[in-house]
């Protein structure tokens, strides 16, 4: 008799607990999908012990889930920036979890790098993910390239951007323009001589032929710019600013009008700087 009552009691307790659990979960899900998901997903140090050898698969599942959630949120925002701190914190937690479970999965590093830098307005946080990518994938140029782009566009740190572009330009499949871009930034940051030395050092490395051809042309141009700048400085000390580069030829500071690697003449800008035709910016 007691056994039957005991069974009934256990059943009642189990039913009540299940109902309470369902109500709590449903309420939690209604409150905030992200908060509920965070409560239901254990932190990385615990989760990694309970993937039962399927860390990479679980990481891929979490990645698809994160992308689906992000896509849904992005659609709701209708083109506005994804800047809600709670949502960004949730995204960071998910990305950290995915990377912890599968550090060799490259997509999350790039995604986090761009998302936190542009939408989250936290470029250093974004760069930290890309730098982790640089360490994890030393042969993939994209991480150094995107980190350099963030330093250049968002932090206006040309020195770091230039170093990263230079690093990326040495890696397989890197676009050939990267070395030129690095050289432009180096010139803006540290002057023509440093940019020239950097490119000459790069030429001594074992580069793909396509990149080497472009760098040789860039070195030829930079050398012409450097010689012209030296002549210009000497001219200025004696006569003041010249009206054109022809003044330097007439006074003997230059033997002839300087040209870049393509044979196009170098130009003297209104600010008194030397510019090659292929360069988009003045220095």
């Amino acid at each position: 008799m007691l056994g039957v009552w005991a069974k009934r009691l256990v059943s009642l307790v189990a039913l009540t607990a299940s109902a309470a659990g369902a109500v709590a979960t449903e309420g939690g899900l209604r409150q905030s999908r992200e908060a509920a998901q965070e409560r239901l997903t254990p932190p990385a140090p615990i989760l990694r012990h309970f993937t039962f050898g399927h860390r990479r698969g679980v990481s891929a599942l979490l990645w698809v889930q994160t992308l689906a959630w992000y896509g849904g949120e992005a659609i709701k925002l209708q083109g506005k920036q994804f800047a809600d701190p709670d949502k960004l914190r949730h995204t960071k937690r998910q990305i950290d979890l995915i990377i912890e479970l599968d550090p060799q999965f490259s997509d999350p590093y790039l995604f986090a790098g761009m998302l936190f830098a542009y939408d989250g307005k936290a470029p250093l946080l974004g760069i930290s993910y890309l730098e982790k990518g640089v360490e994890q994938f030393p042969d993939n140029y994209r991480f150094a390239f995107y980190a350099g782009a963030l330093y250049m566009h968002l932090l206006r740190d040309d020195a770091k951007a230039s170093d990263l572009f230079l690093k990326a330009s040495r890696l397989p499949e890197a676009p050939v323009y990267l070395a030129g871009l690095a050289s432009d930034l180096k010139r803006r940051e540290s002057g023509t001589e440093t940019a020239l030395q950097t490119l000459q050092a790069l030429l001594r490395e074992n580069l793909p032929e396509e990149t080497a051809v472009l760098i040789r042309a860039e070195v030829t141009t930079l050398r012409a710019v450097y010689e012209t700048e030296k002549a210009l400085d000497a001219y200025k000390r004696r006569f003041g600013p010249p009206a054109s580069l022809e003044d330097l030829v007439k006074t003997g500071y230059l033997n002839q009008l300087p040209v870049d690697a393509a044979g196009d003449p170098l130009q003297l800008t209104a600010e008194g700087k030397i510019r090659a035709r292929g360069q988009a910016r003045d220095y």
């Binding site: 309970f50 039962f52 990481s59 891929a60 698809v64 896509g71």
Partner: protein, 253 residues
Amino acid sequence: MWPLAKYTFLESIRDRIYLGFFTGLVVLNLLFLAVGSSPWGLTNHIVERLGWLAVDVMLSLLTAIYAVNNLNRERERKILYGHLTLPLGRSRYLLGKALGITMSLTLLAFVGATVIIVGDWYLTAVESVPFHMYWMVPSVMLKCMILLGYAILLTQLSSSALTATLFTLGLYLISNGAEELLGLAANLSGLSRTLVEGVYYLIPNLQLVDFEQASLYAGGVTPERLGLGLGYAAAYVTATLVLACLVFGRKDL
């Protein structure tokens, strides 16, 4: 032994496990397609990882459930007695069953890998067919064979199919996370550490025969890695089958 293996293999076709497995994988690929047609696209990394996970889990579950049920069903339906009236020892009966189930699982692993490879190639439009995914076959098969050995042993030791299945599934979960157990032990101290370390040495380490990491990231499985996996699996399968034969030989049917 060979006719029994062939009979078991054909029996698995009659049981429609191929149809179920193939349907499951096609549904999975359709799911990939649904996710893949979203604006952010689907990279081949995702299809390969999820595909590997799906085939691994589905075949492991199938091994545990099908092997136990196949053996148990023959005992419950008295088919076993018919087999044992043939000039066939009890050990040979078990080995024939093991061989037949292994043949079925090998074919299923090939089917699974092919479906995932075709899905990966078609959905993510990779330039070349991702043949490296065929490493899934030996990887999943070695795991399944270790599990099969245990499933057969546990069927002989357990009184019901349910307990044998549950024990095999539990072993599958723990064995897949054997390396994690060692990591967990490092964070513990005293008796709990000794206990966790003890469990680690008692159970098979299925991660030793898992070639996913080497195949997807490290550019291929080295002969040393393959040799280690084969040797480890062979030792475990031999030990469990010998034990199962010993138990079955003394069992009062």
